[in-house]
Structure formats: C-alpha cells, structure tokens
C-alpha cells in the first residue's frame, strides 16, 4: 500500500504540523514519533504524553439483548459491569484462539467494544455473524469512523484534564468512565490506558478531534505535555507487561498461555470458545508467556528463537531496550515446564546464543502513594 492509499485520522494535519514521522500501520498513516521515541517514552513516565488512537475500532452493541449478546461474544463477564465501568476482555474463536483483545465499556447506550485497528473488520464481521446465528435482539453500530480517540497518559494527565473539565476526576477510578465536556467538547472520558501510568482515553466526535487535540496541547504546556507516537506506545506497554495483538496474542494463542486466564469467566454460562477454554484450564496450557531480561548484551526481538538446555524451545514475541529500566527486555513463550522466574534461557540473535533471565511481569509498575 502506498502512503497515498493509507487512511488518515482526523488529526493528520496536527501530526504533520508537529513534524511527526508518519508510518503505515494497519492501513492507516500514523505517527511513530515526533521528537524521538525515548524522549516521548520518558515524558509519559514523568509528565504526560498525548496519543492519537483514532484508528482503533469502536462498536456499540445496543438493544434489549445487548448484555446477553456481549456476554456470549466475549470471554469476560460484562454482566458484572456497573454503569460507566469497563473491563479488559477478548473475543475468542470456537477453538479458544484469540480473535482480538479489547475493552468493553458499559455506557448509557449499551456496551461499547473498543478493538485494535488491525482487527476492526474481523471483529465487526465476527460479531455480525454471531448476532445473526444467535438471533439476538440487538443492533451493532460500527462507530469507528465517527469516533476519534485521544489519550493523555502520565502522572500529570489528571492535572491537565482538570484544567479543561468540570468532571470530578477524583471520583473517576481506574477502568471507569463518565460522559462530560472536556474543553467544551462532548467526550466519553475513561480512566484506561496502555502505558502503565495513570491516564485517560477520551472518545469524541471525529469532527471535534482537532479542537480537542489543540486544547490539550495548549493546556498541556504547563504540565510538560508532549505528543507521543506509536513507537513510545509500544515501549511503554512492553515495560508494563501488556500484550500486543499480533505479537503475544494471535489466533493460535489461548488466554491461559498469555497469562490472561483471570479474564476468562467460565462460570458465567455459555459463550464462544467456552468448551475449548474449559479444557485448557483443566489440563493447563502447554506454553507460557514470560518476561526476559537480557544478561548478555543484545536486543531480543519478536521472532528470535529461544533455546533451553541446548534445544530450541520457544520464541520471543516482543523485545526492546527499556528506557526506564536501562536494560534489554523481552516477552517470550516458553514450554510451561521451563517457565520459572530466575531461570536462564538463551535467545538466538543472528545465529548466536545470548543469555537471558526469566522475570515476573510486569517489568515496571508505577509508583503508588503510600496507603494512608
């Protein structure tokens, strides 16, 4: 696909004006960096970074059977959601493989499913097929093209938003959402994110996105705000031990292998993939996602083989040099018998072995204030 054939978010002009390096991502022209990935990463950890995530998919499930349908489609239990509450979830196939990971929000209109840009078409098609087959009294509205998503993330994000809204952000807990105005623009304000820092995801009408971005950038100056691209988004989520669909999560991976067993609610009743998932839960997964810190000097990257006791046995799914830790970190699948924090493995880099130590995820946890 040439750059000319790529889709553009409503904030394309803003990115160009900021000198962003634009790259193709899931059919979209997206900013990978503005000033530099490491600088943007550090800005999110120490102040606040602003991400354009408007390429992602937003699908509203509405109608009398919206809850029943959503409970049937996803692996988690949206039946436990209070109004405004959200949960991390997955769509699984009949064989238990992951179609996408996503967040489900209970809103005043029904259940909003927010999915990865790369999987939007597959998710819509899958949900439509389920709805038809199951004859659910529900309607699906793909709102992706009408919806923009801006995400201020970092310890200063709340202070920044407080300058622009009358919403009581102190009362907005993690994975909760509220409707209200930010800079006079109607938004669904959610305390969610993919960085391991405090932060918000702001859903607004696509036509208002430029005005919202400009307002956040202007108000952000006194909070140390910088725009942040997909490059920093990836290094941040990796430090926070969060999986990326296409790397840690694929159609060939089930939630139990990826340390996401806690998301699967087998007890809620029938849902797509339940039988296969129950079986994996019973016998246990064959492989496990682990964290790695390189002990010999090399960068481990997705696709590099893992060798354990001289035998090839696993693969790196993501890796980078961690700006916060100052170490080379990675996530990898290893056979479940070999998964043990503290144990060494070898990562094969350009046909040579380099030692890595298994560690518990996440690599990074943000500092919390001491409990009272």
């Amino acid at each position: 696909m040439t750059v000319g054939e790529l889709r553009r978010t409503p904030l394309h002009d803003q990115h160009e004006a900021l000198g962003a390096r634009m790259v193709p991502f899931a059919g979209w022209a997206m900013p990978v960096q503005y000033g530099g990935i490491v600088d943007e990463h550090r800005t999110v950890r120490s102040a606040v970074g602003l991400f354009d995530l408007s390429h992602m998919g937003e699908i509203l499930v509405a109608g009398p059977e919206a809850l029943a349908f959503t409970r049937y489609a996803v692996a988690s239990d949206p039946g436990t959601l209070e109004p405004g509450q959200a949960q991390y979830s997955m769509l699984c196939a009949e064989d238990g493989g992951i179609i996408d990971d996503l967040i489900v929000y209970r809103t005043d209109e029904g259940y909003l499913v927010v999915c990865n840009a790369a999987n939007r078409d597959a998710v819509v098609a899958h949900l439509e097929a389920l709805r038809g087959r199951g004859d659910f009294d529900t309607r699906l509205e793909d709102r992706s093209d009408r919806t923009a998503l801006l995400a201020p993330q970092g310890p200063n994000a709340a202070a920044l938003l407080a300058d622009l809204t009358d919403l009581d952000l102190g009362a907005l807990g993690y994975y909760r959402s509220l409707r209200g105005e930010v800079a006079g623009i109607e938004c669904l304000v959610a305390r969610t994110g993919y960085t391991g820092e405090d932060g918000f995801e702001l859903f607004c009408d696509a036509r208002r996105a430029p005005a919202l971005w400009d307002a956040l950038m202007a108000a952000g100056e006194r909070h140390g705000l910088k725009p942040a691209g997909l490059g920093a988004r990836d290094t941040l989520r990796l430090e926070a031990g969060m999986p990326l669909y296409g790397n840690e999560l694929t159609r060939e991976v089930n939630p139990y292998e990826a340390n996401l067993g806690r998301v699967v609610k087998l007890e809620k009743g029938e849902f797509v993939g339940r039988a296969a998932l129950a079986s994996v839960q019973q016998t246990g997964p064959q492989r496990k996602l682990v964290g790695l810190v390189m002990r010999d000097n090399a960068v481990a990257r997705g696709g590099y083989p893992i060798r354990i006791d001289g035998e090839e046995a696993g693969v790196v799914t993501s890796g980078t040099a961690s700006p916060t830790l100052g170490e080379k970190i990675a996530m990898a699948y290893v056979p479940v018998a070999a998964a043990a924090p503290g144990a060494d493995v070898e990562v094969i880099v350009r046909e040579r072995p380099y030692r890595a130590e298994q560690v518990k995820l996440p690599f990074y946890k943000r500092p919390r204030p001491e409990a009272g």
Partner: protein, 128 residues
C-alpha cells in the same frame, strides 16, 4: 538534532563517514542516517584485529524499532571500538561526528577512499 556534514570528512552512499589521519581512519554514521534510524539503542561491532572490506556489512546498529547493517566505508583492519557506545549508544544520535564515532581502522593499501564522496557531493545526495 542534525548537524551539518563536516567538510573534512569523506562519505559513503550508505551514509557512513570517514575521518582520515595518515594511515588510520575513524568511521561513523552520518547525522542523516542517525536521524533516519531514530534513537540508537545498540551497536554490534567486530573485535579489533578483524579485517573489513569496503561496502561489506561489518556490524549492526539497532534503533528502538529496527536492526540495520553497518557497511564498511573503507577496507582495512579494525584497531579500536568506541567503548562509550556500550553504555551510551545515544551518543550516535547526539554527536554522530564526534563522541558518537564507531570504530578506528588502519587503512588497507587499497582502502577505496577515493571512491567516497566529499562533503558537497554527500550534501547534494541527501538533499530533497
């Protein structure tokens, strides 16, 4: 972060530079290459004593997102590596012609130096 390309250096098509000092040379990558790559996080080089061949891949330079080959701008023998890059690979971005130097080489008789561009030619090649 770009610095202009110094006049006293020679440049290869693969965006490496060479500073000649008699029979020795210092090599690195240009500011153009460093900007293209983004934040450098790792440099892998052959040990001193290794013979390198002009335009052959002789090492690897990694940014946050990508792995790129380093191509020898001249033929010769590696005599010294910039040890500072082990802990501070970002020097390649902040000072590509100075503290971000990559290796020192003792030039072969047929080093291929004459095949490299001067600063004006390199500037022209990267314009537009």
């Amino acid at each position: 972060m770009s610095s202009t390309h110094p006049d006293d250096l020679r440049y290869s098509k693969e965006h490496e530079w060479v500073r000649v000092d008699g029979a020795q040379a210092t090599i690195g990558i240009t500011s153009f290459a460093a900007d293209e790559l983004g934040d450098i996080v790792f440099v892998e080089l052959p040990e001193p004593g290794t013979r390198i061949s002009q335009f052959g891949a002789f090492g690897v330079i990694e940014s946050v997102k990508a792995v790129s080959d380093l191509y020898a701008p001249v033929s010769g023998e590696v005599t010294e590596l910039n040890e500072a890059l082990r802990d501070r690979p970002e020097l390649v971005n902040s000072d590509p012609y100075g503290e971000g130097w990559i290796a020192r080489v003792s030039l072969a008789e047929e080093s291929g130096l004459d095949g490299l561009m001067d600063a004006d030619a390199y500037r022209e090649s990267t314009a537009g």
